[in-house]
């Protein structure tokens, strides 16, 4: 499921519109991931406050979503461009890749919620493909 030129154009156009709200998108995405899928809390046991309004959730949500948005600059070679991040997730964080899909779903829900007119089905499918490719790139160094 590789990205067509049309996919890339739709993704870049949509991300340009939403990037100014990255803090809110990140916060909502990670908060919903942790509350709706409580098993994901295991990766944050070093934080005392895991409530949806915790400053750690806010900050880390932004880190993750900014990574997703910024990776659009690497869209022609996500595997190569995300090698270091892949090593981080594989060797240090060791996050089960099933959780990437959970985060992706919550990101997509938040995008639909915050940008109901722009997150059309056509944009949704391109973004969904992009997120799936990011997952694959992050998994590159896992084994």
């Amino acid at each position: 499921m590789s990205l067509t030129d049309k996919d890339k154009a739709l993704i870049k156009g949509f991300f340009a519109k939403v990037s100014s709200k990255a803090v809110e998108i990140g916060h909502q995405t990670l908060a919903r991931t942790i509350v709706v899928y409580p098993q994901t809390k295991v990766y944050f046991s070093h934080w005392k406050d895991l409530g949806p309004d915790s400053p750690n959730i806010r900050k880390h949500g932004y880190t993750v979503v900014k990574g997703v948005l910024d990776s659009v600059d690497l869209i022609d070679d996500l595997v190569g461009g995300l090698l270091e991040l892949s090593e981080l997730h594989a060797f240090r964080l060791r996050i089960d890749p099933a959780n990437f899909k959970i985060l992706n779903l919550n990101l997509v829900v938040v995008l639909g919620l915050m940008f109901p007119d722009d997150f059309t089905p056509q944009v949704h499918v391109s973004v969904d493909k992009y997120l799936a490719l990011i997952c694959l790139a992050l998994c590159e160094k896992y084994r």
Binding site: V35, V36, P52, V110, G112, L113, P121
Partner: protein, 147 residues
């Protein structure tokens, strides 16, 4: 048996009470067929599904989306026994329609995105928890009679 808190019942009833079944049904099914095009395999007799634009204008798809929402309404009205309420529907999807049960989850995800888009900030984290719990019970019940 699934246990529902008063709060969960209120949230789910609240979502349905403000829902335009035709609008949400149409949008959810269209989104599913566009975002997960392999789901189109079950709609061979539904006319033109050539691209996103034709799917979005297809009246047969729109009607079927409404039908799906009315099906969910049955689960809403029988929240304490969704499993048995859907026993026949599950057999239908398994034996007659031959739908891969993983596809129920895909449609459920699209329904969640469409409802989130409709409700905006009112689709709070707690609302999402209750809503996704409801959908996961529905999806599980629909897959139960597969053999």
């Amino acid at each position: 048996m699934v246990e529902w808190t008063d709060s969960e019942r209120a949230i789910i009833n609240g979502i349905f009470s403000n829902l335009d079944y035709e609008e949400i049904g149409r949008k959810s099914l269209c989104r599913c067929l566009i975002v997960y095009p392999w789901t189109q395999r079950y709609f061979g007799g539904f006319g033109n599904l050539y691209n996103a634009e034709t799917i979005l204008c297809n009246p047969l798809i729109a009607a079927h989306g409404t039908k799906i929402l009315h099906g969910l309404d049955r689960a809403l009205k029988n929240m304490d026994d969704i499993k048995n309420t859907y026993a026949e529907l599950s057999l239908l999807h398994s034996d007659k329609l031959h739908v891969d049960p993983d596809n129920f989850r895909l449609l459920a995800d699209c329904l969640t995105v469409v409802i989130a888009a409709k409700m905006g900030p009112a689709f709070t984290v707690d609302t999402q928890v209750a809503w996704q719990k409801f959908l996961s019970v529905v999806v599980s019940a629909l897959g139960r009679q597969y053999h």
